[in-house]
Symmetry: C2
Subunit: 206 residues, 2 copies
DNA sequence: CTAACACTGTTATTTTTTTCACACTGATAA
DNA sequence: TTATCAGTGTGAAAAAAATAACAGTGTTAG
């Protein structure tokens, strides 16, 4: 199969979540225009994306949800799933853990790390919190491949280095400090100020 | 000036934050390759973006930081600034407020809304929290133009309707429920699961 | 004075992403 | 039976975004 565009990968994740909730509502099929309107995109975009992963629909009923979920999962999941750690159990870290817990079976948050002893050796929403000094060890024994950084700006660089040293595969960074990691580690960063300033910019134009 | 691409708008916001921290470190000038490496992009991309907003650098010293900040602000800020409300003072809402407070002068969070009476009529990090029933009134009296949605999924649609009704200009939605708003309201949505699944996908390829 | 250097600014090109346009198809209704 | 309808699948075109290529230019070293 040809290389799938990055934007398509992002949408596949959204399609899957959209159809999961459709399925939960008892539906078995969905049309491209329905999926499109859930994501605020065009039906052609949907059909093209699904074409790229080789998913075909039926003419009269659209796409079969069960099949679609399987096909998307085939692409974006790994067989055994991946194990995730959150570093920094503050507001943001907690929000992520409560949000993700019980959502997806293939990505599981299995550990949190902090330096605050009030948080260490407790569970938050079922996830154990360890001292940051144990990061290297736990990453390895727990077979964690993805780290989510939610520590204060000043600590972010150091935490990233520890993650890289421990052999992490991917980092999702929410600290405002942009990180440098070797090319063998996939890095994704998000900062809400960018989003907010974008909203502000386009709001003022209206 | 020609229309500025959406991606450039996003990067302008990032450039400004990057140079602000450079400035805080006592620097007065920055080269395109330095800015580029801070954002993990190419120097050409930086020069092109700055060209689009009509900012020019000097040959030997690169871009003057003070000027650059002014020029970017000229584009993405409004004169009087914009006032922002957070709806849902949970983990996420709190994280945003503490993060934004004192960061930018032109976008100010001036109100939070919740239904939980433990939170209402108190301040969080200097921001007063009101009952959601007062939303319409406060949006108008406080002249709020942007709303950040951080309420549970089930409440998101209703909250969005209230914001639209109150005449909001832009919405930044963090609830996983994708919203429908009239075209007069600018909508931006972010969901960390998309980011995380993307990281997972590209991590497994490495 | 001249050449080498290390930047910026911009045109041209390439790549990526989205949209258009339309063939195809099975169901339905007249 | 035949026309219409409402969907999918996809090559082609367009639009958006990123990259390459390079001219221009103060600065510095010789
Ligand atoms: N990207 C975004 O959109 C966004 C939004 C809000 C906040 N932020 C940033 O995210 C970070 C966290 O925000 P928050 O509201 O959760 O802050 P917080 O203060 O509530 O939480 C930070 C946590 O990190 C822990 N910590 C500090 N140093 C550590 C270390 N070396 N190792 C492990 N843990 C450590 C602290 O004990 C604390 O529990 C901040 O840097 C904030 O600026 C980013
Ligand atoms: N987009 C993302 O990346 C992301 C990440 C984490 C969580 N989330 C989502 O964000 C939302 C908030 O997460 P959280 O961890 O802060 O949850 P939370 O439960 O800590 O906070 C939700 C807050 O909203 C308040 N609330 C409920 N109904 C309300 C209403 N009608 N009007 C005003 N306030 C109301 C609650 O009292 C509570 O204080 C959830 O839907 C969660 O799934 C999104």
């Amino acid at each position: 199969m040809a290389k799938i565009p990055e934007k398509t990968i992002e949408r596949l994740s959204k399609y899957r979540r959209a159809v999961l909730s459709y399925q939960a509502a008892g539906k078995h099929h969905i049309f491209s225009h329905q999926l499109a309107s859930l994501l605020h995109i065009t039906p052609v975009q949907v059909r093209r994306d699904l074409m790229l992963i080789g998913h075909t629909g039926t003419l009269r009923r659209g796409y079969e949800i069960k099949d679609l979920i399987d096909n998307i999962s085939e692409i974006i999941d790994t067989d055994k799933g991946q194990r995730v750690a959150v570093i920094g159990l503050g507001n943001l870290g907690k929000a992520f853990i409560s949000y993700l817990n019980g959502k997806r079976s293939k990505l599981t948050i299995v550990a949190a790390f902090d330096i605050n002893f009030d948080k260490i050796e407790r569970n938050f929403a079922g996830v154990p919190c360890y001292h940051i000094d144990n990061l290297n060890e736990i990453i390895k024994t727990e077979n964690i491949t993805i780290g989510i950084i939610a520590v204060p700006t000043e600590q972010a660089t150091e935490v990233a280095e520890k993650l890289v040293f421990a052999g992490i595969k991917g980092i999702l960074n929410y600290s405002p400090k942009s990180l440098n990691v070797p090319p063998s580690v996939f890095l994704e960063e998000y900062d809400m100020i960018t989003s907010l300033e974008k909203v502000a910019y386009y709001s003022k134009l209206q």
